[in-house]
């Protein structure tokens, strides 16, 4: 039994310590935002935050997560009250099929929590590990810049 802290809640998890965090989130905790893309840390669809940093949950075993804080899109806001990053992604219509978007949002959130005023180059460099097969990268980059503005002004939803 391993205790995971996800979105501020403690979850006792009965799974092999080698199990990737992604599987536990989806199969044990029914937190289905993070997606399985490649399973190799190459596409970013599974991106969540651990202790404030963006990580690939498909190659992060739960054995390394004792006493650490996991954060997923479910903590950013709700459909009724989207957080700043979610609102910015909606307003820029950054999703086409949407499969990569939870990972994109978590990677963006990790950037903006550290650096509220990223330059365009910093956004590009930071987001470069996450891929979108539909090719909406330009809208995604605009959404991240827009979210930075919302976080700075405190507007744009509850931003938990």
């Amino acid at each position: 039994m391993i205790n995971l802290n996800v979105n501020g809640r403690a979850y006792p998890v009965d799974a092999d310590p080698d199990t990737p965090l992604l599987y536990v989130l989806r199969d044990h905790l029914q937190l289905n935002a993070a997606k399985f893309g490649c399973g190799l840390g190459q596409c970013g669809a599974c991106t969540v935050m651990v202790d404030g940093q963006a990580v690939f949950s498909c190659i992060t075993p739960i054995s390394v997560l004792a006493n650490r804080q996991v954060k997923t899109v479910e903590a950013l806001g709700t459909a009724e009250s989207p957080g700043p990053v979610q609102r910015a992604f909606i307003e820029e219509q950054a999703a086409q099929c949407g499969y990569c978007i939870p990972g994109m949002m978590m990677r963006a959130q990790a950037l903006l929590e550290k650096n509220a005023l990223p330059t365009a180059a910093q956004i590009r460099a930071h987001m470069s590990t996450n891929l979108c097969r539909c090719g909406t990268h330009m809208r995604i980059l605009r959404a991240v810049a827009r979210a930075a503005g919302y976080m700075k002004t405190g507007s744009g939803g509850n931003g938990r």
Binding site: P17, D18, T19, P20, C38, G39, L40, G41, Q42, M49, V50, D51, Q53, A54, V55, F56, I59, T60, P61, I62, S63, V64, R68, R107, A110, L111, K114, N115, A121, Q122, A125, H126, S128, T129
Partner: protein, 438 residues
């Protein structure tokens, strides 16, 4: 070297500089930037290839900047030195440099106006270049697009910020000598020696440096440190578990990846990117010479190398039963094994080097392995290359130390490294900004 001896060495350099004040260099009169048509197209093409072999763009191009327009910060133990603008802009580049000024800079480390250049610019190697090659390189650089951009001022600690002291450094360490071929060796070997010791300046990173930043003559190619990376030894102490051969070195230099040694990363990645476009014969010559630096591996080492390759190809997982309870083994299984335990061809996506073959795990310093774990392998934007995700966010310092110690013991079968935790802290501090944010 103690602080006192270092201070004494600095004093020696100061004195030598005073003595050598007669080694004053005159300014060479500027010229109008030469017209493109004044250079033969074949000469320009030859210069382009030489510039690639010399890896000039690595130091003379800022991240995201225009090629050869300078501004890249080179971190040295003495402070930060910026690569200069070597485009033919007459105001901020070398556009008004006549050929004689270019040749003097390359061979003697003196700019057109007569100032000494810091030996971060490896003129101690370029001094061996032939007249013809220097003429071709000049033709190539003078026909690039001129870019007007000032190079930032260097940030060097006293006394290293005093350029005149470089005169003393040169007296001690600069050997102005043309390349001398070895008649006992093949033409290919001699061509490789000329390139490796001269233009390609491999020793600038792969030879350790002394307290004054000069390559140690008695430790040629014994492995050095460059910008937070360990440049592995190229001589008999090369750490590769499978002995290098000329053919394997050629493949590595040409493609950035070799099945029994893995992929290029760090400052070596742009070197290989440049060599990927150079004539095959030039890269083969370099490989032949480098291979000759490594003494012929013993029959025992060669046999061990063959066994390692065979075992890696059969695809057995690295995590061995005896190590199952090792905390590092658990991390390896969960985070690394999905790619590194696969027997698939390394050129396919998601198939990575079996770490029993890794030079980083077998090297005398853990820095490269730590860099790989933290930052992964990320080719520069717009360039092809092997890719690995970083684990800076996923793993704590303690977990990385456990993983490193596990790999050192079970993949390399070597004595544990000392102070791995300190190396992890250093690597985290020295990360490029874009990675640190991830």
């Amino acid at each position: 070297m103690s602080a006192r001896r270092a201070a004494a060495a600095v004093i020696v350099v100061v004195l030598l500089s005073l003595v050598s004040s007669c080694a004053w260099h005159p300014s060479i009169a500027p010229i109008e930037p030469p017209a493109r048509a004044s250079f033969d197209a074949k000469l320009i093409a030859k210069g382009a290839e030489l510039a690639a072999i010399g890896d000039c763009n690595s130091c003379h191009t800022a991240p995201g900047g225009r090629t050869y327009a300078g501004g890249r910060a080179l971190e040295t133990p003495f402070g930060t030195i910026y690569g200069t603008n070597i485009t033919p802009d007459p105001y901020t580049g070398i556009g008004n440099w006549p050929p004689a000024a270019f040749v003097r800079a390359m061979r003697e480390g003196v700019d057109r106006e007569g100032h000494h250049l810091y030996p971060a610019f490896p003129y101690n190697h370029f001094t061996r270049m032939s007249d013809d090659d220097l003429a071709a390189l000049y033709a190539y650089l003078m026909t690039r697009e001129p870019v007007r951009v000032e190079t930032p001022a260097n940030k060097l600690a006293f006394p290293f910020n005093i350029r005149a002291l470089i005169a003393g450094w040169k007296l001690l360490y600069l050997e102005r000598a043309a390349f001398a071929s070895n008649t006992q060796q093949s033409n290919e070997w001699n061509r490789g020696a000329y390139l490796v010791e001269g233009l390609a300046h491999c020793g600038a990173c792969h030879t350790p440096r002394n307290r004054l930043g000069a390559e140690k003559k008695d430790e040629r190619f014994a492995g050095g440190e460059i910008e937070g990376w360990h440049a592995p030894a190229l001589n008999a102490s090369a750490p590769a578990p499978v002995p290098w051969t000329a053919e394997r070195i050629y493949t590595y230099l040409r493609t950035g990846s070799e099945e029994a040694h893995g992929a290029t990363a760090g400052p070596m990645a742009p070197v290989v990117h440049n060599l990927s476009g150079v004539s095959e014969s030039e890269v083969r010559a370099i490989a032949t010479y480098i291979a000759s630096l490594t003494a012929q591996a013993s029959a025992e080492r060669q046999k061990r190398g063959q066994e390692l390759v065979a075992r890696a190809q059969s695809g057995g997982p690295l995590a061995i039963p005896q190590a199952a309870s090792d905390p590092g083994a658990q991390i390896y299984r969960g985070a690394c094994g999905v790619c590194h335990d696969t027997p698939r061809d390394q050129t396919t996506s998601g198939a990575a080097l079996n770490l029993t073959l890794s030079s980083a795990v077998a090297a005398p310093s853990p820095r490269n392995l730590v860099n790989f774990i933290l930052d992964g392998i990320v080719p520069d934007e717009g360039t092809r290359g092997r890719w690995m995700p970083g684990f800076a966010g996923a793993l704590t310092d303690g977990q990385i130390v456990a993983l490193v110690n596990y790999l050192r013991q079970y993949a390399a079968g070597a004595q544990p490294w000392k102070d791995v935790g300190e190396v992890v802290k250093q690597a985290r501090r020295g990360m490029p900004e874009s990675y640190a944010q991830r």
